[in-house]
C-alpha cells in the first residue's frame, strides 16, 4: 500500500510539472511553485538530518576506537567548531567563520582540484599506450590535437591548428552528439517509466 501511494504521488507530481511546462494554466503554475517551495523546505530539513547522521556516525567510531578514529575526532571537532562559530559567534564577512572558510576550506578545495593535473597525466599515459588499432588511433588523434593547440605546432606546420580543430569539430563532436542523443532518449524513457510506475527500482524493487 505504501509503495502504491509513493507511485501515485510520483505520477501526480510529475504530471503537474509536465503540464505546467507546456500549458499556461494558473492552477498548475501555482501547484508547481508550491511544490518547488516544498522541495526547498524539505531539503533544508534533510541537511539537518544529514548533519546529525554524520555527527552520530563519527561519534560512534571514536567511542568504539575503530581504525582511523582520530580522523573522526578531527571531523567532529571541526563540525562543532564551525556550527558554533556560524550560529552563536559571528557569521559576518570579518567573522571567524568566514575567516576559516576563506583560509582553511578554500585552499583545501583548491588543492584537491589541483590534483586533477597529475591525475590527467597518469590517466593519459595509460590511455595512450599503443596496444591495438583503437589505442593507436586515439594516440595519433590526441597528439594531433595537442600539437595544434600549442604555439609551436603552428610554427612547425601551419596546417596543424586546422587539423586539430577539424578533429574536434567533426569526428569528436559527431561521437559526442551520438552519445547525447542516446542518453537523452534513455532519459526520456526512464522518466516515462518512473512516472507510470513501471520503473520501480527507486522503491527498492
Amino acid at each position: 500500500m505504501l509503495r502504491f501511494t509513493a507511485i501515485i504521488i510520483c505520477g501526480i507530481a510529475g504530471l503537474i510539472i509536465l503540464v505546467e511546462f507546456f500549458f499556461r494554466i494558473p492552477l498548475f503554475t501555482k501547484l508547481q511553485n508550491g511544490m518547488m517551495d516544498w522541495v526547498i523546505i524539505l531539503l533544508s530539513f534533510s541537511y539537518l538530518m544529514g548533519g546529525i547522521s554524520i555527527f552520530l556516525s563519527h561519534l560512534q567510531r571514536i567511542q568504539r576506537k575503530y581504525d582511523g578514529w582520530y580522523y573522526s575526532l578531527v571531523l567532529v571537532v571541526c563540525l562543532l567548531l564551525m556550527v558554533t562559530l556560524g550560529i552563536f559567534v559571528d557569521y559576518g564577512p570579518n567573522g571567524a567563520f568566514q575567516w576559516l572558510f576563506k583560509n582553511v576550506q578554500n585552499p583545501m578545495q583548491s588543492t584537491m582540484f589541483a590534483l586533477l593535473a597529475f591525475y590527467v597525466s597518469s590517466a593519459s599515459y595509460r590511455a595512450f599506450r599503443v596496444r591495438n588499432l583503437h589505442a593507436t588511433l586515439l594516440f595519433v588523434a590526441a597528439v594531433l590535437v595537442m600539437i595544434g593547440k600549442v604555439p609551436i605546432g603552428e610554427i612547425l606546420w601551419s596546417k596543424f591548428p586546422e587539423i586539430s580543430q577539424w578533429i574536434l569539430s567533426v569526428p569528436s563532436l559527431a561521437a559526442q552528439r551520438a552519445l547525447t542523443i542516446g542518453a537523452a532518449l534513455g532519459l526520456i524513457a526512464t522518466g516515462l517509466k518512473t512516472l507510470l510506475g513501471i520503473e520501480r527500482s527507486w522503491l527498492g524493487k
Binding site: 524539505l42 534533510s46 544529514g50 590517466a123 552519445l179 532518449l185 526520456i188 524513457a189 516515462l192 527507486w202
Partner: protein
C-alpha cells in the same frame, strides 16, 4: 535514526503546509501593512493607480510545440513497444560488459574479504542518472548480501542517503539476509564537491576496498576518484551519461557504462519483458532521429531554413 528521519520529515511537511496555506496571505498582509504605515506617516502615494489590461496569452506555450510533438512521438513509441513486449517474451539485449561484471567485482571482493564501495553519482535523487544508478545499487546490494560482502555507500546529499538506505534494506531482505544490513554503512559525506571527492579517495586508500562502483551523474571529481581508485588496484565499474566525464572513466576504470547503457541497466538486470520493450522503443526513436539528421543535412544543403528553424528550442 529512522525515528529521527521520520520526525524531521513530519516537521518539514508541517512547515510546507504552513507555507502553502499562509504564505500568500502573509505576503499580502505585509503589503497592506506597509501601505497603512505609508498612509499614517503621510508619505506620498501615487495619485492615480493605472490598471493595464492584462495581455491574454494562448493556453499552449507555442514556443515549446516542437518539444511537445517529439515528446509525444517518443512516448508513443516507448509505450507501444512496452505493450508489444508483454505478448512477445523473446526479446534479447546485446551484452553489456559493465553490467555483467557486477558479479565478478562482488565475487572478487568476497574472495579478498574486503568491502565494496558504491558512489551513486554526485547529484541528488531528483536527477534521472541518479535513479539509474540506484537501480544498479539495488543489484549490487543483492549480490553483496548473497556473498556476505560489506558494502559501503557514500552520498553527497542527505536525501540520497535515506533513499539508498531504503533501497539496500529491501535488497538485503530480498536476498534473505536482512541481518547483514547496516544503515551506518550508507553515509552522507558533504555536499561540497571536492571535499566529497577527498572523502571517497581517503576511504578507498584507508579501507582498501576491493571493488568500486561509480554510477550516476559526475562532474570534475570523476577523474580524482577514479584515478585514485585505480592506484589501489581495485576492480572499477563506472557509468555516466555526462559525455565530458566519460573519457576519464574509460581511462581509469575496468568497465564503463556509456550514456544509454546506464539507463538500460534496470531492464538488463531485471530482464522483465516490459522494461526490455521500452529499450526497443528507444531504438526506434534513434532510427527516427537518424532519419531526421539525414533530412536536416539535406535541408542545410538546399537552404530550407524554415525546416531547420522548426527544430530549434527556446
Amino acid at each position: 535514526m529512522k525515528s529521527l528521519s521520520l520526525s524531521l520529515f513530519i516537521i518539514g511537511v508541517i512547515f510546507c503546509t504552513f507555507q502553502i496555506s499562509f504564505g500568500n496571505s502573509i505576503s499580502t498582509k505585509v503589503q497592506i501593512d506597509s501601505l497603512k504605515i505609508a498612509v499614517n506617516n503621510q508619505q506620498s502615494l501615487p495619485s492615480k493607480v493605472h490598471l493595464s489590461k492584462p495581455e491574454i496569452q494562448p493556453l499552449f506555450k507555442t514556443e515549446r510545440l516542437n518539444v511537445f510533438i517529439f515528446l509525444i512521438i517518443i512516448s508513443a513509441l516507448v509505450l507501444t513497444f512496452l505493450f508489444l513486449a508483454k505478448r512477445n517474451h523473446s526479446l534479447t539485449l546485446r551484452k553489456i560488459a559493465g553490467l555483467d561484471a557486477i558479479d565478478e567485482a562482488v565475487g572478487r571482493a568476497a574472495e579478498m574479504g574486503r568491502p565494496v564501495l558504491f558512489v551513486p553519482g554526485s547529484m541528488d535523487v531528483d536527477r534521472i542518472q541518479t535513479l539509474a544508478g540506484i537501480a544498479i545499487l539495488s543489484k549490487v546490494g543483492y549480490e553483496c548480501a548473497t556473498y556476505e560482502v560489506d558494502l559501503d555507500v557514500m552520498t553527497r546529499f542527505p536525501l540520497l542517503m535515506s533513499t539508498s538506505q531504503e533501497i539496500l534494506r529491501q535488497s538485503y531482505l530480498t536476498a534473505g539476509r536482512p541481518d547483514l544490513f547496516s544503515p551506518d554503512r550508507v553515509q552522507y559525506i558533504t555536499d561540497n564537491q571536492f571535499a566529497f571527492a577527498a572523502a571517497i579517495t581517503g576511504h578507498m586508500v584507508r579501507v582498501k576496498t576491493a571493488a568500486h562502483f561509480f554510477i550516476g551523474e559526475f562532474y570534475a571529481e570523476s577523474l580524482v576518484i577514479s584515478e585514485a581508485g585505480n592506484t589501489t588496484g581495485a576492480i572499477q565499474i563506472a557509468g555516466t551519461a555526462n559525455s565530458h566525464q566519460l573519457p576519464f572513466f574509460l581511462a581509469s576504470c575496468d568497465y564503463t557504462l556509456i550514456g544509454e547503457e546506464l539507463f538500460a541497466a534496470s531492464a538488463y538486470l531485471s530482464r522483465e519483458p516490459i522494461l526490455l520493450g521500452t529499450i526497443l522503443g528507444q531504438d526506434w526513436s534513434k532510427a527516427l532521429f537518424g532519419l531526421l539528421i539525414v533530412l536536416g543535412t539535406l535541408a542545410a544543403w538546399f537552404g530550407w531554413t524554415d525546416f531547420i528553424h522548426w527544430f530549434q528550442t527556446e
